[in-house]
């Protein structure tokens, strides 16, 4: 009997948490991490990305760092009647179950003091520090100078598999009131 109870206890302690974790998508995911190639002579750049918080708890990006620049800051653009004001954010909140996009004209990771120009096709590392999710090591893909998104890399056949990927993302982002910033 004691063994049964002990066995049951063990089951609760080990299997159930695992079940809870593997159930619904319960991970914090960062995808479509990209930066524009920088114009000749530029000393600054911007990284854009999408955070999907599939966990049950709100989280925050607290900071960013990369070997590609001396400083990386979380920034947002405020359009004040046609005047663009860039402001540093103390953190970027990603509520439980929501998707937050960092994209041109909005939030971005601002790179200052680039160690070298960002060229199309290059990639470089980025570390994001989340409040709860901890450190996340990512790879930034560099697109052409004026790109508006990671799929906008010039040339259609550039990214195999992109064809069905965006549709997938839109499904989880669009219209479900996930709290993601939509404009």
């Amino acid at each position: 009997m004691m063994r049964l109870i002990a066995g049951l206890a063990l089951l609760f302690l080990t299997v159930l948490p695992a079940l809870a974790q593997s159930g619904s998508p319960s991970t914090l995911e960062v995808k479509q991490v990209w930066a524009r190639a920088t114009p000749a002579g530029a000393k600054t750049g911007a990284i854009y990305l999408t955070v999907v918080n599939g966990t049950q708890s709100d989280d925050k990006i607290l900071s960013a760092s990369t070997s590609a620049a001396s400083t990386a800051q979380l920034h947002t653009m405020i359009d004040d009647n046609g005047v663009m004001k860039m402001r540093e954010l103390p953190s970027i909140e990603v509520k439980a179950g929501s998707t937050v996009m960092l994209k041109p004209g909005g939030m971005h990771v601002m790179l200052m003091g680039l160690t070298q120009p960002l060229k199309p096709g290059d990639s470089f590392p980025l570390t994001l520090q989340f409040e709860k999710g901890g450190k996340m090591e990512l790879t930034v893909t560099v697109t052409k100078a004026g790109a508006m998104g990671v799929g906008d890399m010039g040339g259609m056949g550039n990214m195999p598999g992109m064809g069905n990927m965006p549709g997938h993302d839109m499904g989880s982002m669009g219209g479900h009131g996930t709290g993601g910033k939509q404009n």
Binding site: G41, K43, T44, T71, M84, P104
Partner: protein
């Protein structure tokens, strides 16, 4: 509702309407001269090109101008607008021959002629980058009612708050339209085609 509060509401509404109408009139008078008056609303400037040549607004008379103010340390808004302008030039095809895009810096301290000349080439070789003395930049910004202000950042280079609009100037030198800095290349091209078809 008491008579007094009703009166106040009416008065409030009147003030709002007058304000909106006033702003509209102001914008109209700022944008284009009344037809047939021959009033000159050219916006004069003297600036320096990437190759060191001094140019004025008259240098570009006879061309449609797409004028955008920004700075090269700008990581987001300026590349977005300049790329849209480059895209518009592409979409205009042969019609682009009558269009001159100008990128004027509001950060002359860091944006020297050489920096500007090199920077714009990354978008389209047809875009001309212009800089000047503090006074020259202040003067051209005033002509276009462009706001700009330096903002120091802890642990990094200073940034600039600035008006992010794309101005369309006609071949006679009159400012005829302005578009949002986030306009697509297609939209800019459409506006230009429409304006060109009116005058030709």
């Amino acid at each position: 509702m008491t008579l007094r509060s009703r009166l106040l509401a009416v008065l409030g509404a009147a003030v709002v309407i007058a304000g909106v109408a006033g702003a509209g009139l102001y914008l109209r008078s700022w944008l284009a001269p009344a037809a047939g008056e021959g009033a000159s609303l050219n916006r004069p400037f003297t600036l320096t090109r990437g190759d060191g040549a001094v140019v004025t607004d008259e240098t570009y008379r006879g061309k449609w101008l797409l004028v955008y103010f920004g700075y090269t340390y700008c990581p987001d808004a300026c590349p977005t607008a300049l790329n849209a302008i480059a895209e518009a030039m592409e979409k205009l095809g042969p019609e682009a021959a009558t269009v001159q895009p100008l990128f004027i810096t509001i950060d002359p301290e860091r944006d020297t002629p050489a920096v500007m000349g090199q920077y714009v080439k990354s978008f389209d070789p047809r875009i001309v980058g212009l800089t000047g003395t503090d006074g020259q930049i202040a003067a051209v910004a005033k002509e276009y009612q462009v706001y700009y202000k330096r903002r120091d950042v802890e642990g990094g280079p200073y940034l600039m708050d600035h008006t992010s609009l794309i101005y369309v100037v006609d071949p006679a030198g009159a400012l005829v339209r302005f578009l949002g800095g986030g306009s697509s290349g297609e939209r800019i091209a459409q506006h230009l085609r429409e304006l060109m078809s009116r005058t030709s």
